[in-house]
Symmetry: C2
Amino acid sequence: MPPTPPRPLTLRDVSEASGVSEMTVSRVLRNRGDVSEATREKVMHAAKSLGYVPNKIAGALASQRVNLIAVVIPSLRNMVFPEVLAGISSVLETTDLQPVVGVTDYLPEKEERVLYEMLSWRPSGVIVAGLEHSEASRAMLRAAGIPVVEIMDTDGTPVDAMVGISHRRAGREMGRAILKAGFERIGFLGTKMPLDHRARKRFEGFTEVLAKSGIEIADQEFYSGGSALAKGRELTQTMLERTPDVDFLYYSNDMIAAGGLLWLLEQGIDIPGQIGLAGFNGVELLQGLPRKLATMDAGRREIGETAARIIAARHDDPEAEYEHVVELTPKIDFGDTLKRW
Amino acid sequence: MPPTPPRPLTLRDVSEASGVSEMTVSRVLRNRGDVSEATREKVMHAAKSLGYVPNKIAGALASQRVNLIAVVIPSLRNMVFPEVLAGISSVLETTDLQPVVGVTDYLPEKEERVLYEMLSWRPSGVIVAGLEHSEASRAMLRAAGIPVVEIMDTDGTPVDAMVGISHRRAGREMGRAILKAGFERIGFLGTKMPLDHRARKRFEGFTEVLAKSGIEIADQEFYSGGSALAKGRELTQTMLERTPDVDFLYYSNDMIAAGGLLWLLEQGIDIPGQIGLAGFNGVELLQGLPRKLATMDAGRREIGETAARIIAARHDDPEAEYEHVVELTPKIDFGDTLKRW
DNA sequence: GTGAAAGCGCTAACAG
DNA sequence: CTGTTAGCGCTTTCAC
């Protein structure tokens, strides 16, 4: 006799095995309504021993409810996003909602596809990184009729709600701190920015503040792809060869800043006596470097938590009032590489 | 007039807007069967202008097909797993399959919950990290009746198929290389291993080879949690204070090895003249360190690609023959910290 | 406390 | 090439 084809079990199977109607089995399995202890046990036993796994597809279709929250981020290879995710998960774990992650590789067209794909599963909410989306993406989000929280950035107008920091302001603050510390020949090193809007905004805020003090960026250098730590070394070397008299280097993220730091120390350059340094993000990695790098913590975990809390609250009560704009304040950390005294 | 409640659009709406039957609309939207160019255009136009997003829940229930592949990994905070994911995605992107990620935090009970949750969406396949699962998890995987590929490790018996490296063998090879280079007072530093089975297996293979040469681990030190780079420093310092005469340090991963390297260099210790070093994983980060750290590349990307390829092939043809065991060969990279000459 | 009927939005299968 | 019919497996609703 050939083995039974592995047809997935259905409620009916559990119903037959337990001698209880499908409806009651369903009630037991969902903990809904009153069921006598006797039948509950019969059902549980049958379900367990059969190894029944409910079909959420059918359940979702029938109930018009899906406990999924779509989370759309540019990348998983940048530690920033897993940290946001951790914040989201920690909050959603206290509810019956579940995050589902989609990755866009920083490409608006891919973001559009990913959103379409995810929305077609009718999630109960969307958390998406950034405020810059294609018009079609915005339209989809609006039309979905579900809570949408855009995160990480507040320099712009959200489709629905946004939680994050102002990167323009962050750039300005770092600029002020650097100027206040007395640095004047300042170089900027970062990713090529056409698609990294947040880095661009920081850059804009940064140069704006310098300009107000009549200072211009002494030099700048951009990269894309590759190991960030190694790139940080390369960029730094290139810049120092071209502009040896810089007294400060502002990096668009901590990883390239760390690479720069290591390279500069190897060259015997005094940090921050000779050259001051600052990065952005406050990544955990920094804890192990030879110098405590100045940085700015964007509060990624908190952003994730807050966004998830908004989604969860609106899931519980769609009519509830909620903050459409939550702007967090990034904490500047001077470390050992920004103060000269 | 109050705004229309945002009822999600259905096929029927597109059907009415285009004057074409639901069935034909469905055909157009899925590119199935022959449809005249005229009606195709009518339908496409209607769908676009309405902003229709198909309901995959209903589609999946009706067609009994779900294009999702469940990917279950222990963590996103260890770069290793995003890299595996990248391999999986790169292959699945050439198909109509889509990865959905679940994270277990290295906890068997959470793995069980995550698997249950994911299987209840009836995915077309499962890729899960590791071979160690609860009996209930294995039972679920077997009962699901879908392709299951366990990845990263081949020291054990898979539920269905497995793709990875033998960590015991990896540990043995590294042990042999270290002995061959003439090191004798060898310390081991790593994660607490009860739940990190792969690290444990490497450790076992490693000590086994040393034992054959009559050598015992000179000292060992374990950690859990925290910034790996900082932990690497601490562990290394602790060990050197306790056992100053070690001539080699074998770390269970590259991040703590990097921390150790930085600390040792700061102490003015000659690497590898005085102390040799090796890590594990071949993470990109290493490219930017002051010394090229010896390591072993587990071929994470390739593992992901291979697993995805097996799943995709079996999705195309469930009857197809396939490799149940794919053991890849990790490449040892001597870097600058393992050879003494 | 339990059950029967209807239907969620879509697609397989079959007619024309 | 296009339409009709009958479910997919579950939950909602209403009876009992």
